[in-house]
């Protein structure tokens, strides 16, 4: 009996939290076209606030742009047409994420080219290190050192001992 009560309480709790999330989601009962308005507005950059989307910005221009987007969505225009409308007027500045078209390809490809060049450079350097001779154990590592340098080192060491 006690277990049954606990189970019922849990079900009730989950049920309540579920309906609360629906109540406070802010999307309940909104016009179905609003989702598209939100999607378009989140991808467009507010022209006066640099790094905020039209959807997030509180500037007058962004608010009025949102109204224009809403009007166009309700008039049945497609997402591509609306995005293009703003592109034709503000250029690719209006896209929060740069497009991959035209000279923007450079922007997208440069990191990739840099990465490939870096890997090639690192590979070359490792190959170079592997090729360079390693002094085998037991041989005189000081071989090939200028005798004059050797003498100076010895002099310095002698001075330290004093």
């Amino acid at each position: 009996m006690k277990l049954k009560c606990c189970f019922l309480l849990l079900v009730l709790l989950f049920g309540l939290s579920g309906s609360a999330s629906v109540l406070y989601s802010g999307e309940r009962g909104e016009d179905p076209s609003e989702a598209l308005v939100r999607k378009i507005a989140k991808d467009l950059r507010c022209a006066v606030c640099q790094n905020q989307s039209v959807y997030e910005s509180n500037s007058d221009l962004a608010k009025d742009m949102l109204v224009v987007i809403r009007d166009k969505v309700r008039a049945g225009e497609s997402e591509a047409t609306i995005r293009d409308y703003f592109f034709q007027r503000y250029g690719d500045y209006i896209y929060l994420e740069p497009t991959t078209a035209g000279s923007n390809k450079i922007l997208w490809l440069t990191p990739l080219v840099g990465f490939v060049l870096g890997v090639l450079g690192l590979w070359g350097a490792i190959a170079h290190w592997k090729r360079s001779p390693v002094v085998p154990e037991g041989t005189d590592a000081e071989e090939g050192v200028d005798p004059a340098v050797k003498a100076r080192i010895q002099q310095a060491l002698d001075r330290m001992e004093v």
């Binding site: 022209a47 640099q50 007058d60 009025d64 742009m65 109204v67 007027r89 503000y90 250029g91």
Partner: protein
């Protein structure tokens, strides 16, 4: 081989530095208009007196379209020049000015003109800045110079300055239209 690599690396670093230096001169707030050399969107609205006004009616003339608002500080600084320009070009049959008062109230606009002087040309009233957005406007004042075919030839972001007409507009107005510019937009 090694020196060749060093030269390539040096050139690459130099190129990046040059691009960086050039980029420093860019104004991060300026948005270049893609509308230059394209047909201007038509303006069909009411003027400040409530009378219908249409940009296409000015076809055949060079038109200076000036976007302003009574809330805009730079527009106050620009206004004396607009009054002077309107007075100077009053007798020209090939040039006219049209204002677009945007994101404003009719009362605010009237008070602005009463206080700072009325240049005498008409203003389209655009309270929801629908016309401004249609023209890619993002600040005030912004001005566009249209050729007789209704094509936007240049955009001035920020206030027009004394001598602007002679230095910037007149050379365009006096230059013969090229074959493509003669065609309908």
């Amino acid at each position: 081989m090694k020196s060749a690599w060093k030269a390539v690396l040096l050139l690459a670093i130099m190129a990046i530095l040059v691009l960086f230096a050039l980029g420093l001169n860019n104004d991060p707030h300026a948005i270049p208009s893609p509308l230059i050399n394209r047909a201007a969107p038509d303006i069909v609205a009411l003027d400040l007196a409530g009378e219908p006004i249409r940009l296409a009616d000015q076809r055949g003339k060079w038109v200076l379209v000036n976007f302003w608002g009574s809330w805009c500080v730079s527009c106050v600084a620009e206004h004396p020049y607009l009054i002077e320009l309107a007075r100077k070009t009053r007798d020209r049959t090939d040039f006219t000015i049209m204002g677009v008062d945007f994101k404003d109230t009719e009362q605010g606009a009237r008070q602005f003109l009463a206080r700072h002087g009325d240049p005498g040309y008409r203003h389209a009233f655009d309270p929801n800045q629908k016309i401004a957005i249609d023209w890619g406007v993002y600040g005030a004042p912004e001005s566009y110079l249209l050729d007789p075919n209704g094509r936007i030839r240049l955009k001035q972001t920020g206030p027009l300055y004394p001598g602007w007409f002679e230095q910037v507009a007149l050379p365009l107005i006096q230059a013969p239209l090229t074959q493509t510019e003669k065609g309908a937009p």
